[in-house]
Structures are given as structure tokens and as C-alpha cells.
């Protein structure tokens, strides 16, 4: 019975030691990923001779600071990726004329159609220009202008082709 109790106590002590070691490693990893200052890194190196020997033995040409820099860059890249995807430049919005500009354009087109009506004809170049002006209007106004034009042509008030 005494043996069992002592074994259990020893196991508890060992588990506690293991927990502390894991906690210490976690703290070091956190420091690395948070980008600890060079002074802190130096202090860390001095307080952990094992880490220093590992560095010098395995990677003599790469300092801890270099590694931190690489980790920081990788973390920054990972962090920036979703933002970059979200901020993909969208199609520029179709320029919308102001109501005043629309009103002005509609009046100009009406005047043009009246002119062609009074003349009784429209040539190909004039039709192309008129259609370009009409295309710049918002949908409702565009439909109305095309309606006016096609009806005038159907009635024979304007001789020409679209």
C-alpha cells in the first residue's frame, strides 16, 4: 500500500513537471509568433542554453532573428490573403448621369428627332450619332427615345434606315 501511494505521488510530480514544460514551450512559441523584440530574444537565448546550442549546431548561418523575420512574413502573408481575396477590385460601376444631365440629353435627342422629322429624312451618319446619344440614356428614357424614333420612321415622317 505504501508503495502504491509513493508511486502515485511520484507520478503526480512527474505530470506536474511535464505540464510546466509544455506550458514553457507554448510561451516560447507565442513569443516567436508575436514577434518578440531583439532584446527579449537575446534574453531568451541566454536563459536557454539548449536553444542556443541547437541554433549553432543545426543552423549556424541562420539566426533566430532571421527565423522570426521569416515566420512574421509568413504569418503576415497568411493574414493578408483573405483580405486580398475580399478586396479584389470590382468592375467599375457604370457611370450614372445626374437627373439634370438626363433631362438635358433627352431634350437634345427630342430636338434632333424633331429636326429630322421636319426635314423628312435622316442619313446613316446622323442615325449613328443619334443612336449613340440614345444609348447613353438610362433604360426608360432610352426606350422612350427609340419608341419616338421608330414610330416616326414607321409613319414615314423620317425617311431612312436604322
Amino acid at each position: 500500500m505504501k508503495l502504491l501511494v509513493s508511486l502515485s505521488a511520484a507520478q503526480t510530480v512527474l505530470l506536474a513537471a511535464l505540464g510546466l514544460k509544455v506550458f514553457s514551450i507554448d510561451m516560447q512559441i507565442d513569443d516567436l509568433s508575436a514577434g518578440a523584440t531583439p532584446h527579449a530574444a537575446q534574453a531568451e537565448r541566454q536563459s536557454d542554453p539548449a536553444a542556443l546550442s541547437w541554433e549553432t549546431a543545426r543552423a549556424p548561418s541562420v539566426s533566430v532573428e532571421d527565423m522570426r523575420l521569416v515566420i512574421r512574413e509568413e504569418l503576415a502573408a497568411l493574414d493578408a490573403t483573405p483580405r486580398n481575396q475580399a478586396s479584389t477590385p470590382a468592375q467599375p460601376a457604370r457611370p450614372q448621369p445626374s437627373p439634370e444631365q438626363v433631362k438635358h440629353a433627352v431634350s437634345a435627342i427630342d430636338r434632333d428627332i424633331s429636326l429630322f422629322r421636319s426635314r423628312g429624312a435622316i442619313n446613316e451618319a446622323e442615325m449613328a450619332t443619334l443612336q449613340s446619344k440614345i444609348a447613353k440614356l438610362p433604360l426608360a428614357e432610352r426606350r422612350a427615345a427609340l419608341s419616338t424614333l421608330t414610330k416616326a420612321m414607321s409613319k414615314g415622317e423620317i425617311d431612312g434606315w436604322m
Partner: protein, 140 residues
Amino acid sequence: MTIKRKTLLAGFAAAFASTAAVAGMVQPAPVDVDLTTFFAGGDMLSARYAPNKNEFIGCGVRKFDDGAGGAIAFGFCQAEDADGERAFCNTDNEDLLDAIEASADYGYVTFTWDEKTGQCTRIGFSNQSFYVPPKVGSNL
């Protein structure tokens, strides 16, 4: 010339005459514009070679850069018959625009329109052998 040779020549002549006379079904459709039912129809070949200066029929699409990477499009159909009756309609309906863009040479064209708005209400194309002009080429 021997009788045998005459018979042979007559045979050849008959053979050529028959191929010239038989060239498949032909169905000319002169342009008709009806301003009471708001209908227009006719085939392009008949319109182009009509014995008058009036007839024409067809549809087209106009596209304009919208300044935002897209385009503003509208389509139209137009026709005039031998009597000088004219019809025009326009559309921004994407399906009708697709129909216009799917048209082919020598086809029959038909459209109807809304008198009040001038908008096309139906656009049809029919591509048939009997609208194709003679001597375009031959598979025979």
C-alpha cells in the same frame, strides 16, 4: 452524223436540260408590311432582287461601350414592301437580341411590333433551302 451519235448527243442534251430545270423547291416571299396587324415578313433574297426600288427587310443590333466593361445593346428590325409601307421596331430584350444575332444570310425574316411603344414583340428567322439563291454553289 450517224444515228448512234445523234442519239448519244440527244441523251446528253436531255440530261443537262433536266438538271437545269430541276433545282429544288423555291419559295420566294416578297416583303409584306401590314400596318393593321403590325406584321412584317419576307425573305432577304426576294427583297434584294425585287422588281422595285422599295423592298427591303432585316434586323440588326447596335452595341455601345458602357464605360464599365460592358455594353449597352439594342436591336431593331425594319422593312418596306413594294407598296412603300414601312415598319420599324426596336428591342432591348436579350432573348430577341440573341435571335437577331443568330440570323443567317438569305433567310426569311418576320417581326411584329407594339404600335404604342414601337417595341418589337416577335422576331423570327427561318433559314431554308428554298430561300437560297440559285447558283451559289452546288453539291451536285
